[in-house]
């Protein structure tokens, strides 16, 4: 049963991905806006333009272009970037680890902050403290990562200049890595001075991405916790003399965490989407920042590769969430 749900979702996901691929391809080809026009030097004649188009395969019929692209995409060949003159797959794989580390760190921070505040709010339920938490949280729910990122710039790069404003790591330290997962690798190999440098660079973008998600987690988890706190098993534990904190953390949290995690998965896709603008603000070298450059340069092969990559990440998150939710739900486990 559990496996059937996952397989079903995976098939749907692949179909969605194919739909995304077709839409992006058509969108980029049908609308006006010629990528070659962006690349040619002012003195180029029609012959030069035709040669350039032929070089990038842009003179072939649309169906042929699509077929070539799909065949390439399946085999991992997205073509060559028009603006960077490098293999698209290679660019994506060089840039992706930076975005993955940023998004995962932001998720961990959001779960930590959101979880802690939800527990505190539950402990102080029906008091003025809960009203205050709800009031502040409603503002955090409204304000997007874009605004947090720039507000953090004003605080930690201008008023109290303690964090580096741009980049991922000091260039002098960015050597001797065998993978592109700088943070994970530096921690695993025990180079903690390097790790702390990377974390300082990642602090502002991470927080900007984490705060809106943390607000969502506070609202969802606090509601679930409050509902759990009036259940019979919590009452029983209370009669046994368990402290209020233990009641919340040991009894209620175990039952409240499932639905919150399921919805957090969906929200995590928004966080990944937010990396586009947040990476831009902090000149962080991930695929989000790359996406904006690719679009400004009308770099078709790179845009196609990036959109498919984002689509794939979104789908993987959704499948993982469904699989997790199905595994956590005892009713589904027993068919």
């Amino acid at each position: 049963m559990w496996l059937a749900i996952v397989v079903n979702r995976a098939v749907m996901a692949l179909l969605t991905l194919a739909g995304v691929a077709i839409v992006v391809f058509v969108l980029l080809r049908v609308v006006p806006g010629d990528p070659v026009a962006m690349m040619i030097s002012p003195g180029a004649g029609p012959a030069d333009i035709a040669a350039l188009k032929a070089h990038y395969g842009l003179d072939a019929p649309l169906t042929t272009q699509f077929w070539i692209w799909i065949k390439g995409a399946v085999t991992g060949d997205f073509g060559v970037s028009i603006s960077l003159h490098l293999d698209v797959m290679e660019i994506l794989f060089n840039r992706l680890p930076a975005t993955i580390e940023l998004a995962v760190l932001a998720l961990i921070v959001a779960l930590t902050i959101g979880g802690a505040i939800a527990i505190v709010g539950t402990l102080f339920r029906r008091t003025i403290a809960e009203t205050a938490i709800d009031g502040i949280n409603s503002i955090f729910l409204a304000v997007p990562d874009f605004i947090w990122a720039l507000a953090l710039v004003l605080v930690f790069a201008v008023a109290l200049p303690i964090l580096p404003l741009t980049g991922r790591i000091d260039p002098a330290l960015a050597e001797g890595f065998s993978t592109r997962f700088y943070l994970a690798e530096s921690i695993l190999t025990g180079r903690f001075a390097v790790s702390s440098n990377i974390l300082a660079h990642m602090a502002m973008p991470t927080l900007a991405l984490a705060l809106p998600l943390a607000a969502v987690i506070v609202r969802l988890l606090k509601q679930s916790l409050k509902e759990a706190m009036v259940q019979d098993y919590v009452l029983l534990a209370r009669i046994k003399g368990m402290s209020e904190l233990r009641l919340v953390v040991h009894e209620a949290l175990r039952n409240a965490v499932g639905p919150t995690l399921a919805l957090t998965g969906v929200q995590f896709t928004f966080l990944v989407g937010g990396t586009v603008i947040v990476e831009r603000i902090f000149a962080y070298p991930g695929i989000g920042n790359l996406a904006i450059d690719a679009v400004i340069n009308r770099d078709f092969p790179l845009i196609q590769g990036l959109v498919l990559m984002f689509g794939l990440i979104f789908i993987l998150i959704n499948v993982a969430v469904d699989a997790g939710a199905a595994a956590l739900n005892p009713r589904l486990a027993h068919g």
């Binding site: 609308v31 790069a157 509601q223 937010g274 603008i277 831009r280 996406a291 789908i315």
Partner: protein
């Protein structure tokens, strides 16, 4: 899901009564909500500011004065009288640019949210009321649509359509009509099962008449709240696209454009970033609080 238990069993009937029979009750309920009053007042102030911008701005927002470049706001050392929020790198008055910037932000907010609501509502009403193949088609379309990362799609669309306010509006509409479609569809399905709809059909009203005269007015409360929330989203999307340089041309002052310039010179002139960011923050929070307040007051169903 959240406050479901707090909603009485008769909430559904109550909302019909509020929407249909006793409009004054809505007004008194809204006026009694301080959040709605403060947020609504702020947005009203923004609208008046946008409409009267040439009258209230002390300076031409484009007027450069290199002798008075990067002057800090009033109250700081080297501040100049007449430039309350200081000047930017070209000596343009920040407050005046902020005032004129409300025009683009609010235009995008109202037009984009309105159009997205229109398209989403029409499709949502059709899908929810007709059901069957129409419903399946619309629902699948919404699903595929929502698989796209919104930020990426908006940048992609604007790059493809060319920059400018029309493209920004088009991008927001193309992406966010699904928000309205999903909610209106669900709401229409709920309404279509109500006795009054069955009664109207029995009395011989056509499907179209029932949809427009019976169902639409009862879906309207949800819509109003959603449109307000969408306006807050639209203001941010416009600012992001201006920030990236894909919105209106740079000789029209926008908050996002000011933020982009301020981000570049943040170490020399922090107020160039702080002022438009504060304006954007307040506007987003105001639209959101107003939308939440409207949702709470107008429609108990949205709270589920």
């Amino acid at each position: 899901m959240a406050e479901a238990s707090a909603v009485p069993a008769s909430a559904r009937d109550g909302s019909d009564a509020i929407a249909g029979d006793h409009p004054p009750r809505v007004v008194t309920a809204l006026v009694r909500d301080p959040k709605v009053v403060v947020a609504g007042g702020f947005i009203l102030l923004l609208i008046v500011t946008a409409l009267t911008a040439p009258l209230i701005a002390a300076h031409d927002p484009l007027e450069q004065n290199l002798l008075l470049a990067t002057v800090p706001p009033a109250g700081f050392a080297d501040a100049e009288p007449g430039h309350v929020l200081g000047t930017d790198g070209l000596g343009r008055d920040v407050l005046s640019r902020l005032i004129f910037g409300t025009r683009v932000s609010l235009t995008v907010a109202f037009v984009a949210a309105g159009l997205a609501a229109l398209i989403g509502t029409v499709l949502g009403l059709l899908a929810g009321y007709r059901g069957g193949v129409v419903d399946t088609l619309v629902s699948r379309l919404v699903d595929v649509w929502m698989a796209f990362p919104p930020v990426l799609l908006s940048i992609l669309l604007v790059a493809v359509l060319g920059s400018g306010i029309h493209s920004v509006i088009a991008a927001i509409v193309v992406i966010d009509w699904t928000r309205f479609c999903r909610v209106v569809r669900a709401e229409t399905m709920a309404q279509a099962r109500m006795d009054y709809v069955v009664a109207a059909r029995t009395l011989g009203f056509s499907r179209g008449a029932v949809l427009c005269r019976e169902i639409l007015p009862n879906v309207a409360p949800v819509l109003i709240a959603l449109v307000t929330l969408e306006m807050g989203i639209a203001v941010v999307v416009e600012a992001i696209l201006s920030f990236v340089g894909l919105s209106v041309s740079s000789d029209i002052p926008t908050w996002g454009g000011m933020i982009a310039e301020g981000r570049q010179t943040v170490h020399q002139a922090w107020w160039m970033l702080a002022a438009p960011l504060a304006a954007l923050f307040a506007t987003v929070v105001a639209f959101n609080q107003l939308g939440d307040g409207l949702a709470r007051t107008l429609d108990p169903v949205l709270r589920r």
